[in-house]
Amino acid sequence: MDYGIVRRLVETLRRLPGVSQKLAERIAFSLLQDPDAQRAVAELSTILDGASSCAACGWFIEKGKPCANCARDRRVICVVESFSDLIGIDRTGEFTGSFHLLGGLIAPLEGLLPEDLTGDALLRRVEAGGVEEVILALPATIEGEATVHYLHELLAPTGVTVSRIARGMPSNSKIEYLDRKTIGHALRERVKVS
């Protein structure tokens, strides 16, 4: 049987993270038949057309609108690897400062070197003044550690306090998989990077 357009639709859906073959088939059939599902897809592209990321902090914003993250308390900046780590930390409710999305970690295997991260934007935020502390909420992996050293070196001339969340959590563990209590504890018990 030649699945033609159905196959193309399924294969396109499969490119989305977490979408299995089965799920892709289910979504494809509903998209082909259900007007409500079709409207949802149209709305998705409108939303995405209007989205962009903040040049200062990396957070996602609506084009032309001020950044909600940059509007938060800027005295303390929490640096995270990714969007999902940001959500994990925000959910604890223990952090009221603003975030900085690094866009990854130093990981040559994935083609990521210091200049591919948003370290320079972070430096500009700190140099703009008013920042007292930068908390590095990065994983205790070799990539996370290398990134800590890079950021510490980058920020040292500004004199800002650079701290990192407490270790004590299993190495290799991604922040997004940790529970709220563990993240909250790691934040409170942060240590100065020296």
């Binding site: 130093i106 040559p108 083609g111 070799i142 990539e143 550690e145 290398a146």
Partner: protein, 345 residues
């Protein structure tokens, strides 16, 4: 740990066969009957790797397209598990524990066994790689946390290699800096393992009625020294495109009773390698991970006297042991309480 039984399907010469193991097991049979193969299959199920072939797929029986082995084990106390390993000709490998896929790392963290094979002679007389493996296994036995440290270090070597091969070189010193504590810790733990092994080695030899010793020498560079070495090597590493320093390259020297391996006899080397494995076994037991000892034909180079002493050492171990021999039992090498697996051609 205790191995209860092993099922082999299309594993080298075995089409489909099941074997049961006792507290002591003797695998006997003529050359080519499958003694080494059986131990190899045990190690595949318990450790996810073959000690004979670099790739598990070489264990697939001629004419088949995949093999499967299944071990029923007691991991400690009442914790029973079913461990399986399989591979196909495309190189697809699968390890499971109780039906769920497991990583090789998780498998090694759960099982405990020591392999003593002909290849062990190289531990004494061959390249440093075998000696690094010995110390890493012993360090892992003393503290399973070592697996995480070693795997983070391996990750560092891979990231660094990728960096050295890429056009851009930024981030090299940051990766190096992140590796300094790992490198120091690996060396410290290898050093501790080496000292523990030497002590157990001397004790084993004394128990066998021989006055032997082993000296293991390795790099003890730590902290600031490591940082300086890494820094000094950077230019050459960039030029060559590969990491040139670290525990994965460390030279480890070994001397048996004050003599280098080159000036020891084959039998002395064989007995030395055997005592090192006994030391590893005792060390794992002390650390709370009573292992299964698999000993495959390491006695070939030993004379009658040493062979008897070696058998006596195995017999005295308070752990499960699986030993192969091409002699048939009845020639005086099978104690009464021994389970015998007699293989034929």
């Amino acid at each position: 740990m205790h191995l209860e039984s092993l099922l082999l399907r299309n594993f080298r010469k075995f089409k489909e066969e099941q074997f049961s193991f006792g507290r002591r097991t003797l695998i006997s049979g003529p050359n080519g009957s499958g003694k080494t193969t059986l131990i190899e299959a045990c190690a595949a199920a318990l450790g996810g790797r073959s000690f004979r072939s670099a790739d598990l797929k070489e264990c697939i029986r001629e004419g088949s397209d995949h093999f499967f082995v299944k071990a029923a084990v007691e991991l400690g106390g009442l914790d029973r598990a079913e461990l399986t390993a399989g591979a196909d000709r495309k190189g697809q490998k699968k390890l499971t524990r109780d039906g769920q896929p497991v990583s090789r790392r998780a498998l090694l963290a759960a099982t405990s066994f020591v392999l003593c094979t002909q290849e062990d002679l190289e531990m004494v007389s061959g390249s440093p790689r075998k000696r690094r493996d010995l110390l890493d296994r012993a360090a892992m036995g003393m503290d399973r946390g070592y697996i995480d440290i070693a795997s983070q270090y391996l990750r560092y070597v891979k990231q660094k290699t990728a960096l050295l091969r890429s056009e851009r070189k930024s981030g090299l010193k940051h990766l190096n800096e992140a590796a300094v504590p790992l490198i120091s810790e690996i060396r410290r733990r290898r050093g501790t393992a080496a000292r523990a092994l030497s002590a157990h080695f001397a004790a084993a030899a004394a128990q066998a009625g021989l006055e032997l010793s082993v000296e293991i020498r390795l790099s003890a560079e730590e902290g600031e020294e490591v940082r300086r070495r890494l820094h000094d090597r950077m230019a050459r590493e960039i030029e060559r495109g590969i990491p040139l320093y670290g525990p994965h390259l460390d030279d480890i020297q070994m001397e048996l009773t004050g003599r280098s391996a080159r000036s020891s006899s084959s039998g002395e080397v064989a007995f030395g390698a055997f005592c090192l494995r006994i030391a590893e076994t005792v060390l794992l037991g002390e650390a709370g991970w009573p292992p299964v000892l698999f000993a495959d034909e390491i006695f070939s180079f030993m004379d009658r006297d040493r062979r008897d002493r070696a058998f006596a050492l195995i017999a005295a171990l308070p752990f499960q042991t699986v030993v192969t021999s091409h002699r048939t039992p009845g020639e005086g090498n099978a104690p009464e309480d021994c389970t015998v697996i007699a293989l034929e051609n």
